[in-house]
Amino acid sequence: MQDNTTDELAILTPLTRRFDDRAALAAYVAGLADITPPDNPSPIIGGRAAALSLLAAISPAQYSATRNHLDGAVTRLSAYIRHGVLTLDEVRNRALDVVAAPKQAEKFIQELAWRDYWQRLYTASPDAIWVDVEAYKTGFSASDYADDLPADIARGATGVACIDALIATLLETGYLHNHARMYVAAYIVHWRQIKWQAGARWFLQNLIDGDPASNNLSWQWIASTFANKPYFFNLDNVARYVGPDINVSAADNLPLAHSYERLAELLFPNLSSPQAS
């Protein structure tokens, strides 16, 4: 009887809510998981105040014009939406408030709708998001793809300079621009022929906004198991969107430095005429 009471009292002891700074909080949370704290805290700060500050700064028109560029006017609201700190509804309402007509916010709101769409699929089939929705349309079957993520990818040492730079950003910040996610995911699935599930799990573990539905179904879109054709890209496309800080020289990115036609032959030799999405 005494033991049960003691156990129950231990269960009811709340965890602390007072910290001197973010580093102390990070160390405390790491201690709860019995793992080493990160060297640097993520620039993405939890809580409603940080979320509202970012929400106040959104510009749907600029977003629409620049969102594919890594230095474009993206919102970085995804982690807050993922964890319910913000709702899609209030983000949409804010977007409508800062434009003259709803049409000017349509592209921005459509991107919010993607999340709503993924959540509806997740709700309809909660256990299905780790399963191929459809067959690969790459000329290969699922069994042709490796199950596990190679160590060189996990540590950002693939030897493909731009991919390694993007992986470093992911590992250091817990965030990656959507276009960068597409490049890394396509590299893993199509250049390295790894099952999308291995890459999706690794993304979930490292992204602060990692959402099982949005993440996994986006990987399936890249892989072609939830799209009509595979997504792939070439070095010219990377150079157009990543900005000057990332090395896009052909010599340091040889596997990507081809025309789309040549890449299609190299990546999907069993297909007659694949096209880039």
Binding site: E8, I11, L12, T13, P14, L15, R17, R22, L25, A26, Y28, V29, L32, A33, D34, I35, P37, P38, P41, S42, I44, I45, G46, G47, R48, A49, A79, R82, H83, G84, V85, T87, L88, D89, R92, P102, K103, A105, I109, Q110, L112, A113, R115, D116, Y117, Q119, R120, L121, Y122, A124, P126, D127, G174, R201, L204, Q205, N206, I208, G210, P212
Partner: protein, 144 residues
Amino acid sequence: MAGLIWLHEEALRADHPVFASASGATAVFCWDVDYMTAADIGLRRQIFIYESLLDLEVTIIRGAASQVLPVVARRDQATQLFVPDTPNPLIKHELLKVKAALAGMTVELVPERPFVQLEVQPDLGRFFRYWNKARKQALRRGGM
């Protein structure tokens, strides 16, 4: 009747409808490292979640919900449990264990505010089939 809220990692804000549904109820977040591992929630995200919890009137208690909530419910003589609704099968599975441990307690799943309110579930086979049905409401305040 005393109420208890199980606040989980998908509902980290003070105006989530679960708080209005359960006015005056005690809110508990169960810090479950095994769940975090199973859900692929890495350390940086755990830090983000903890930081977000500090905004909220919620007691953070270490352990699985099925271990923690029955003890809190007994202490508070709670008769109702409120949970933010979610499609997450890991949370749903844990909720089944909570229900088994809380026999006789009513459990209410409280939905999030919707993005769009559609009378008929759209065809989800491809995004644009959904978007064609949702677009009109999506471009209106409140999604109505």
